[in-house]
């Protein structure tokens, strides 16, 4: 029993799939889109499709990238002996904002969490080990997963996996509020947690 025309219902239906968007917000957004000139929706639709078709995980570090390698991996000015392991690409943005960290990154694509059905094989952990195997230039791997139970467990897992390699494995300090999010932390908090990192 639909109250709105079918195409409008469909729009609401799709919008509602977005995180944080409930039925009421979906209807509000749908009306907003409808009121705007057609250029608005064309441009939005194009942006959606373009982003999705152009952006891939970087072959090296799994950061968002339009080419095979992301801009950080391509840069010749990065310190290639430092590797910072993060949960998501948004964490990279947070660390880049500090303008302090000069090394490279590795995006795990989440953390270990059986509750969400996430085990080691669902993260880019094998690729991480590969990166250490392929190159001997690494001196330190900094694990910057969030200070949660899952983040800590994942950090410990990584430390176990990297034992065979002659690198220092460190964990960023708990400067962040417990249960806090790396990508919500302000720059100075993030800097402090980076400076206060400890060997795992």
């Amino acid at each position: 029993m639909s109250e709105y025309p079918a195409s409008f219902e469909r729009l609401i239906f799709e919008l509602e799939k977005l995180p944080g968007i409930g039925p009421r917000s979906a209807i509000r957004l749908a009306f907003y889109i409808l009121k705007k000139p057609v250029e608005f929706s064309t441009s939005l639709a194009q942006a959606l499709v373009e982003a999705k078709s152009k952006i891939h995980p970087c072959r090296n570090c799994f950061n968002l990238s339009e080419g095979a390698l992301c801009t950080i991996c391509q840069s010749s000015r990065r310190d290639t002996s430092l590797l910072l392991v993060v949960e998501d690409p948004s964490d990279i943005v947070a660390f880049e904002r500090t303008h302090e960290y000069q090394g490279l990154y590795h995006v795990l694509g989440g953390v270990l969490s059986p509750l969400e059905g996430k085990g080691p094989q669902d993260l880019t952990l094998n690729a991480l080990v590969q990166r250490l195997q392929n190159n001997s230039q690494w001196k330190e791997v900094i694990v910057a997963t969030n200070p949660t139970v899952e983040g800590d467990s994942t950090a410990f897992y990584i430390q176990q996996q990297l034992k065979p390699f002659p690198v220092k494995v460190t964990r960023i300090a708990r400067g962040l509020p417990s249960g806090g999010d790396v990508d919500y932390a302000d720059e100075s908090t993030l800097l402090k947690s980076l400076e206060g990192r400890q060997t795992l």
């Binding site: 059905g117 467990s153 897992y157």
Partner: protein, 372 residues
Amino acid sequence: MHVQWLRCTHFRNYDTLEILFHPRMNLFLGNNAQGKTNILEALYCLSTTRSFRMVSEDELIQFDQTAMRLEAQLMDDHGSERVALEFKKGFGKTLYFEEKKQKRLSLILGKIPMVIFSPDDLYLVKGGPGLRRKYLDAVLWQRDLSYLADLQQYERVLKQRNALLKKKETFLEKEWQVWNRTLSQAGSRVIQRRQEVVQHLERIAEHALSELTGNQEQLTLRYLASISWNGSIDQTQQLFLEKLTQAQKEERMRQITLVGPHRDDVELILNGKSIKHFGSQGQQRTVALALKLAQLTLLGEQRSHPLVLFDDVMAELDEQRQAFFLAHLQKQGQTFLTGTSKQDFKKFLGDARVFKVDAGRVALENEGSNKN
């Protein structure tokens, strides 16, 4: 610390309610189902963001409404602070300090320390181990918020580990090691803190019990741990890991974590005998009361006196114990009592501010004494 006033909007059977509290003693009288417990619940809810009744939280909102708000003015030596909690159906809760929206609900925890006495306390002695663990945990986190972080961490790992146990696939040894480590780490901290506080409580509760009965009583609180505290975190964690290895087979079969502080208990022993099994109803009630009094004393040692909430308890006490409580409460913080009959509070009436509660309306009956 005391609460100067409370304002409830669309909370339970209160459309709008404003009460100016007496800084020491407040008594709410009224027939059954008029809203006395609801007032205590509002205070509790502000203190912890939750209800003490085991119900769906939506029930806190008045029938036919979609949101409720609780607001109070807190007063201590440093000055006053206004706190508010809003709860909207489907949107969750929001916390405000001085009308300013706060980022996390947990920021309110510890601001309004309180201890509730209710007839249900009997189950602290009679009921299952979960209630006794909850009691210990409440004593611990109200004394020191860092315990709450430890406990929540432990509960989260436990959930994760149980989820892993329910997975059908083959077990990846390395993955297990990780969760066992995290569980034993967080768990050992919980065990340590509970072990310590049980010793503390034992001494104080025994004293309270002797005062309540007028006899020399011997009360023992024994923390029954599936992993006993081993002198240090590291050693306890070691033992924890060993127990996990031993339990591995059974855990995988039953798909649930079988060792750890989430299975622990406190054994209560009165004059050499288990109270749960051999105590009379009266003895059980008295020991439960002593445990709550110990909680009150322990919290008061640490920080300013907690609020004391007394729901329907006074009527159950004989005159001698009422006198004891009256004397005891004089030394405590702001107190809130409920009851149905004036007769049960003869000893209190002189000092308390008395309110009459009638179908969601609260009327002032007696100002209460000015002496503080």
